[in-house]
Subunit: 215 residues, 2 copies
DNA sequence: TCGGCTATTGATCGAATGATCAATATGCGG
DNA sequence: CCGCATATTGATCATTCGATCAATAGCCGA
């Protein structure tokens, strides 16, 4: 019955400790969802006493909201960078679709879905969700505008089209969270639909590399 | 400090009482979401002591799952009936889109989103979610197949197309839960995209009645 | 009319949550 | 090397949750 060798209390700079706590919260949310962000769970993850977490945070609601923002903002930056690697402006939309379909981002998707679900009970989180949705929307509008400028897309209202595309992405992601990524030809179909949304040819928005065909 | 006039204990048939409890749960879930389905909250709503609810239920997880199923199955039946009122088979898809876009079903949408979000922590709920998604999928497959048979749609894989359409619907709904239904021309755009998905003319899948144009 | 079956109550348990605070000890500045 | 500002601890509170159970009382049948 050796008591858990109490780690000697270490004193760190507030900034550093705050960082550790925020990182612990982020990891925990990615592994188990936003609902797992408990005062005690975060503390344990950070190797610290619950009271200390409370000391560094306005309230758990705020920590949840901040963690949501951090995770989702990271995702957006990552996707943004990935998409920009495609030199042909019009095909960046296709790259976006590919990333979303094969991204293996179920952890982030769970965070999104929980953000929507917990919003009504957490005003700060709700605001964060709207903010991040706006950020995604802004990126997609940019992608679409570039395509229009390049003469590849014909879009009346890029604003509205971007919302529609984002809704499609979110819906597909939410489904892949529940259903085992079944449909083998989601890519082709999605590309065709997106092309229609943007008034473009399917071949114009994506590289012709077809998904691996399972015989 | 008059004690709340304790209502005289009334004894009802198990079936009736069970009904009341299930109805209370359903109402509560529609008003405040699945997360509000507390032993005590449901009991209060049903005008009954918490212990009684526990007596009639295997566990709260099961009640949550059952309530989810009841609400969503009702929604499906309602939408199904609504869609069937459109005599032209091909245009039933358009009717579906209209219902989803103007349905005012945010309460049910919240239940859906919470179903996805709570699934990882509630196996029974997760199973119910998959079951109801399958039910929706089945209905949409039927709609698509009818259109194909009528020669209005050209679809390789109705199965996959149905999943895609459902994902789109869910995404649009989830968004309308968070964002104030802004886009005025969502209908036209959605119809165009769905037409592309089904290999049909936009005019073929929906009655030409355009949504009210806000000058 | 009345007894008994059982629906219903009220009280209570144990676990988990967010939050607060006095006491402690750590590491930096002088 | 030492003293002090404060980061950190440990203990504790008030809530809320799901769940259990003996005791009570309503209603149906005899």
């Amino acid at each position: 019955m050796t008591s858990t060798p109490t780690a000697p209390r270490t004193r760190k700079s507030p900034a550093e400790r705050r960082d550790e706590i925020e990182r612990a919260a982020r990891e925990l949310a990615l592994e188990q969802g936003l609902a797992a962000l408990t005062l005690r769970a975060v503390a344990a993850r950070a190797g610290v006493v619950p009271g200390l977490v409370a000391h560094y945070v306005t309230g758990m609601d705020d920590l949840v909201a901040a963690t949501f923002s951090a995770i989702v903002a990271d995702e957006l930056a990552e996707v943004h960078a990935l998409v920009r690697r495609e030199p042909a402006v019009a095909r960046r939309i296709g790259a976006l679709v590919d990333t979303v379909l094969h991204g293996g981002r179920d952890d982030v998707t769970l965070v999104w879905v929980q953000g929507w679900a917990l919003g009504p009970a957490n005003a700060a989180l709700a605001a964060a969700v709207r903010e991040q949705m706006d950020a995604w929307h802004t990126m997609i509008v940019e992608l679409i505008s570039d395509g229009v400028d390049a003469g590849a897309f014909v879009v009346d209202d890029a604003h509205a089209a971007a919302w529609h595309l984002l809704a499609m992405i979110d819906g597909l992601n939410a489904h892949s969270l529940v259903r085992w990524h079944d449909a083998p030809d989601r890519r082709d179909m999605t590309l065709r639909v997106v092309a229609a949304l943007l008034g473009a040819e399917t071949a114009a928005i994506a590289s012709p590399i077809t998904t691996e065909e399972t015989a």
